[in-house]
């Protein structure tokens, strides 16, 4: 009798139990019991699977020195030799196979194994390098191996270059994030490799020079910028040309006039980092292509480390492993962020893959604290821009408004569902009050925005989420916040309670808003608002509020 009688168990607990049974005969007895007893198909499958597995394991214990190879399939042999580390034993197997069935695929498997256990010393065959044109003479454009642009090999690379994007007159956050990350990476790098390589910030635009101080404060050692009125808006042709030209300056492929620069004496950047914004994605692909390297797009993590590589295309010799130093590991989310891949960009024996380039998802890194005492070398990069690069022009553009910005106002007049009896008039009265102040605007509670009120067309434009104050809207801190017909829900409160003075108008004096208001006017907003407007126009309200400030 086997230890376990399957008929006494539910399939769910049999699963784990059966894993401990290693004896095929015992399992067969169990199978017989099940067949005579409950005869459950899944249970039988479970036991049969286990029998198969156990027998396979038993076979695994075959002695490779004596086993009869003619009884084995090529796959069995391949599996078996994988566990044999002794080259002599392997040679013996090889001999026996040659004398026996002489299957060429089996012979290759054994030979490969011999090679890998012995390591391929110098005798190992080099992977012969054949330029693509020669390898594929029949093709006029051999794409199987990517055609190179530069074809450089063994050149010198240094520094980490960061393309710093600006938008609407500001350095975008991701530029600061990348600079902070680059600073950390290069500080560590210089320590680890006892080196002295820099963070290089690249700025382009019509007023690129304005950001030099900022990028320095965020971590750059060298700032390269080029200004031209035509660069006001991003256009990929000129931007690509300039960044490529800068990257090559002082190196083997430097453009005319840039053969010798005093700020760079290497071929091209070691690392490049771009923002994974619309423009940054565009630029990164083009620049990395022009510089004859690859790109890991949309990364969320970066670190520098050695990497052991065994890919023959990279190592040059089949079966060999080689350690590559100073490799930028570029982590990117796959499968909507549920998995990560780490991308490495590694030189081939006959072709360099540098700069190692990444584009970085905004928000992946922290914005560092800027240090405006930092100093950096600043270079205005001289270069003539070809008119042809500007053939594609921007004729018109529209900046999607970030909506209505209520944050800068001295006064915000907000209305809530208290306007329900006559919503159009309610908004009109609020707008009248807004107009009475010098610097004021209209805010709304969410309750109004999501209502089914029918607004007349002239006020309808004001009723949108753009004016919502609160947790899921804007947070304002005006001097005066006037809340008419708003109950003061906690989600509304968080949007306005930093205001200096809060004035509530409500028919219900017990409404929650009372708890965080400075003044509560008990009354109907349809009557109170016009009176407030008059008071403001006469200058009375301002006086009242100022008095309360003291």
């Amino acid at each position: 009798m086997p230890d376990i009688d399957p008929t006494e168990h539910e399939i769910a607990d049999l699963g784990p139990k059966i894993k401990d049974v290693d004896d095929a005969d015992e399992l067969r007895e169990m199978l017989a019991l099940e067949e005579d007893g409950e005869d459950r198909v899944p249970v039988k499958t479970l036991i049969e699977d286990r029998i198969e597995k156990v027998e396979a394991e038993d076979e695994g214990e075959l002695d490779p020195e004596t086993v009869d190879l003619t009884e084995m399939t090529v796959a069995d042999i391949a599996n078996m030799v994988r566990d044999v580390d002794d080259a002599d034993v392997l040679r013996d197997i090889l001999e026996r196979e040659r004398e026996g069935k002489e299957r060429s695929s089996a012979i290759t498997q054994i030979e490969n194994r011999i090679e890998s256990v012995e390591g391929s010393d110098d005798e190992g065959e080099d992977v012969e390098y054949v330029p693509p044109e020669e390898k594929y003479p029949e093709l006029d454009h051999p794409t199987n191996d990517k055609q190179w642009v530069e074809g450089t090999a063994g050149a010198e690379y240094r520094d980490m270059w960061v393309f710093c994007e600006t938008q609407a007159g500001e350095l975008v956050d991701v530029s600061k994030e990348m600079l902070g990350k680059a600073r950390d990476l290069m500080d560590q790098y210089n320590e680890d490799y006892d080196a002295d390589e820099r963070v290089v910030a690249v700025l382009l635009g019509d007023e690129a020079g304005d950001y030099v101080e900022d990028v320095t404060a965020y971590g750059a050692d060298l700032v390269l910028y080029h200004e031209d009125d035509r660069l006001e808006r991003f256009r990929h042709k000129p931007y690509t040309e300039i960044v490529t030209d800068m990257s090559r300056a002082g190196g083997e492929l430097a453009s005319e006039g840039h053969e010798d620069v005093d700020w760079k004496d290497y071929h091209e950047p070691r690392y490049t980092v771009f923002p994974a914004t619309n423009n940054g994605r565009d630029l990164s692909a083009l620049v990395q292509g022009a510089l004859d390297s690859g790109l890991a797009s949309d990364c969320s993590g970066l670190y520098i480390e050695e990497a052991m590589i065994s890919n023959p295309a990279k190592v040059g010799t089949a079966g060999d492993k080689k350690e590559f130093e100073r490799v930028l590991h570029m982590k990117r989310p796959d499968f909507s962020g549920f998995e990560y891949s780490t991308i490495l960009c590694i030189d081939k024996p006959n072709r360099d893959f540098h700069p190692q380039g990444a584009s970085v998802i905004p928000g992946s890194f922290e914005i560092p604290d800027p240090d405006y005492d930092r100093e950096a070398e600043v270079v205005e990069y001289e270069m003539d821009l070809d008119d042809e690069w500007f053939e594609v022009g921007v004729t018109e553009f529209d900046r999607l408004s970030g909506g209505v910005d209520l944050t800068g106002n001295e006064v915000v007049v907000a209305v809530g569902r208290g306007i329900g009896d006559d919503p159009t008039t309610g908004i009109e009265l609020a707008l009248d009050l807004v107009d009475a102040f010098d610097d004021a605007d209209l805010g709304l509670s969410r309750g109004v925005i999501t209502s089914s009120y029918a607004f007349d067309s002239h006020v309808e434009q004001y009723v949108s989420e753009e004016r919502q104050i609160g947790e899921s809207g804007q947070v304002v801190e005006p001097d005066v916040y006037i809340a008419a017909g708003i109950s003061g829900a906690i989600q509304h409160k968080v949007g306005c309670d930093e205001a200096d003075t809060i004035v509530a108008i409500n028919t219900d004096p017990e409404a929650d808003i009372r708890d965080f208001s400075d003044y509560v006017i008990e009354g109907d907003l349809f009557e109170v608002l016009p009176r407030l407007t008059e008071a403001v126009e006469r200058g009375e309200l301002a006086a009242a509020v100022e008095a309360s400030d003291d």
Binding site: E10, A12, G416, T450, S451, Y453, A454
Partner: protein
Amino acid sequence: MTDHERYEAVVVGCGPGGAAAAANLARNGVETLVLERGVDAGSKNVSGGLIYAEESAPYTIDGLFPDFREEASERPVTENYIHNVAGDKVKTFDIGDLHHHDTAWADSVLRRRMDSWLARRVHELTRETGGGLLTEVHVTGLLREKGEIVGVTCEELDPIEADIVVAADGVNSELARDAGLMDWEDPDEWFQGVKAVAEMDPDVVDERFDIDEDEGEAHLFSGDLFDGVRGGGFLYTNEASLSIGTVFHLDSIAEERAEPQELLDSLLTHPLMAQWLGDDYHEVEYSAKLVPDSKKAALTAPHQDRLVVVGDAAGQMQAQGPIIKGMNHAVTAGALAAEAFADARSRGDPHRAGEFYEKKLHDEGVMDKLRPTSYRAVGKIGELGPIDGVANAVAESAVGRFGVRAAEGLVERAYNSPTLVSMIPDTKLPYVTLPTILGEELGERVTDENHVQPPELDDRIGDLTYDVGDPHIELVDNSFEASGTAVTACPVSAKDFGGGCYRDEMVQTNGHEEHLVSLDTQPCVECGTCAVVADTDWEHPAGGKGVEFEQG
């Protein structure tokens, strides 16, 4: 052929049904991917809180997940009572026998804790098979090829193909709806459950209920404390909190224009509760969810093509009189569906899993619990208006009342009979009239003073955590006639409350006044009520969006 991501099995939802299915699939070596829309399994789920292990069931939760009781549940239930309330008079029966009938054990649970523990086990098990559990993925529907179901579509991922799709996506199953197996039309197929969790020190729980730390109590309530709405209340002890809630027939809530939060408050503030709630009531979470009534909603053939439907999604929620059994049946059904797939696969015909699953539900006696033949005979007739009216009248008559008094022992026995309680018709008689008479005729007056002040609805909403996304419910018809019931029936809306999901509004258009409702889904607790009682396009929010329950 399109090139989709492929798994042998895709399980949608990681509640008890999905967890059981996934665990059993993984044990059978099936490559299984589990998709769950919450930030964490359990963050979307609500139950009253007693999970049963039935002696007659082929699978139980602790059978599938060995340390379940130590790791994931709160307290075992050692005492069971039902209280029949009439004003401040209460007649209490011990229903231990009903509770213990066919029960190996029953524990109270809080779903966030329970489901997230299950999810970790599920992830470990399924990862072994080459799959795993992905949270924050909202499955939007079924992937079809040449008209046949072959997988699922998602809001966050590309479509995924599988040999079997297990819809364990709970009540308001978008997959069952997509397959045409369920509609959300008929309020009388559903209950609405509403619940509050009140924080309480373990020592205080022990003291107020006079129990040890490894004991727990279940109290059920019926009678006249719910304004004639058909249903009842419950109170269960957890390790360091109490779960107090109500479960009502949705059609009754709709008809009576009842405010669910007020019904819950009626229970919380009844003098009977004072002994347990004390003076320091602190509500940490308010939640709600629809509950299917298996007698009417359980699918008799819960499968189609490669799709099998388990648990609440298939309507497998049994109201055994006052005892609510949903989680245990979801577990059984999930595990049986997995077993069916293993069978079908070993016969070389994986796509016949649905057929085998249906057969197993019958053979294992699950179907007869969900749709008892005795209910079909007695219950349905009892629900026909005139007879109910007569029965009510009889019960109300002096003779009926006399009968009740004379037969006190008989009533207690009747309450403890699983057959009798599963025949109960869905009428006022058993839920309201009879318990009230019992309370009046036999009850004792409760003299305690209840000091509980339940939070207002806006505070209840304010205490919940939301990650607001795009609106997931759209009002198709915003007239009060079509959708006005939601203003009261929605557990986070109320008449004259501007801060809820549904608000009724009188709107002037071109000189005439219209009665409309407006909808803001931000405070939505995703209970499903308005999918049934209002004219809406109803979906779940995107993965990770919407409300997040900490207790559940």
